[in-house]
Symmetry: C2
Subunit: 254 residues, 2 copies
């Protein structure tokens, strides 16, 4: 049975989309069947993989009752598929808010897919709104990117509180997959301070793999490619590949 992993952090620009695309791609290269779902109305996951998002998106499944198989798109990698999103998805925030069972919509439409994939990743928007709550309610675990900067630590308490609430109300099985340090810059002492702080607080929950700040990672999306097809020898590609192996090792051990 496939594992659903939400990639979430309400702090903006911490590397959620970059992690979702490149971790999912690395796992696909390691012969896993992977589905990546763009749950952000900004549609960065869709464009970062060069996938058209003008029609047949997550919104169409949730609101227009389109069959989910119809919106699963191919990507540049054979065993990686993607469900795109566009700004229409914002409507979910307003339309679902007064519905009963409002946090279970993702679960309802996505859990039937679990049998077809080894991993399903949900790239979340930078907020703790209903879309993110839906993603957390449907997920088996949540992967939390933490940018190695001061503001990035601030929001963690709130995120962990929200995860706890979701566990109590709608998804008792929700676990923390891990905290991932991103945009680590060896020239900046703040990076070392943040790493020390995170490893102290979250010990075994922090991935050993750290993602460095690497300009190639920010260039790849403008070509619609995961890092492995843009520059597979750069430090960013190496580390996301190592992260995928670490994640697989963890699954086998648990």
């Amino acid at each position: 049975m496939g594992k659903i992993i939400a990639v979430a952090n309400q702090k903006g620009g911490v590397g959620k989309t970059t992690t979702a695309i490149n971790l999912a791609s690395a796992l696909a290269l390691l012969k896993q069947n992977v589905l990546l779902i763009d749950c952000d109305p900004q549609g960065n996951t869709s464009s970062g993989l060069g996938i058209p998002n003008n029609a047949g998106t997550l919104y169409d499944v949730l609101v227009e009752k389109m069959a989910v198989e119809e919106v699963i798109k191919d990507t540049p990698l054979k065993t990686l598929k993607c469900i795109p999103s566009n700004p229409n998805l914002t409507a979910v925030e307003v339309e679902f808010i007064s519905l009963p069972q409002r946090e279970y919509y993702f679960l309802k439409y996505l859990s039937p897919l679990r049998g077809n994939y080894d991993f399903i990743f949900l790239d979340c928007p930078p907020s703790l709104s209903l879309i993110t709550i839906n993603a957390l309610s449907a997920a088996n675990s949540v992967l939390i990117p933490i940018q190695c900067e001061y503001y990035a630590l601030e929001g963690l308490a709130q995120l962990l509180k929200t995860i706890k609430l979701v566990k109590q109300r709608s998804n008792p099985g929700l676990k923390i997959e891990g905290f991932l340090l991103t945009m680590f810059d060896r020239r900046n002492s703040l990076s070392f301070q943040i790493e020390a702080e995170v490893r102290k607080h979250f010990k075994d929950y922090t991935f050993k793999t750290v993602i460095p700040r690497n300009v190639r990672l920010s260039e790849a999306p403008s070509h619609g490619l995961p890092i492995f097809l843009y520059d597979d020898k750069c430090k960013g590609a190496e580390q996301y590949f190592q992260l995928a192996q670490e994640l697989l090792d963890r699954q086998q051990r648990s």
Copy 2:
């Protein structure tokens, strides 16, 4: 009469908070009376200026009907004041959604303050939700930070659409103050491409001043200080000071 400027962009991590704090601070150093309002439940503006946000926040004015004068706090700069926020503010998204006049709450409580300040800045969260709509409905103009990276251009069409809707529905006087290029990195050709693209599309609306990527800007908030009190000789301080002068020149000309 004071001018209310919203600092907004739903893309996360583009420098909204860093711009709000340092532009407001530079204007205060240029003898302007400035109020900076943290409209983001993350509370980064509050902590970036070292202001306690556990009690007496924007939420207390909007929901607990506290008098706005009671939540105006001092900052390290004499003519800069701040209204803090904390995660309580998220409640506004849910509680206000079904109220009539839901987009006019900020205007109702903040416009009486305009007589006391030359500028009032509203630091917005990374979304186009009700909090941001409220900020846009109360503002005279909106300043849009654009990070010099690929994903940063994607969300602009949606943001401009939202601004247009707010102009039609609730705030016909809303103008664009300008587009500000942030985290410009001379070593990265993408920065030059993004700058060329933005200046081509938005011509006179793009500030001449460009904010470089400068590690001192990301260190200052961990000391609770604006850049001018942390390292006033660095490139980040120079450019934010120049931005303040450019903004003032524009006001005098228009």
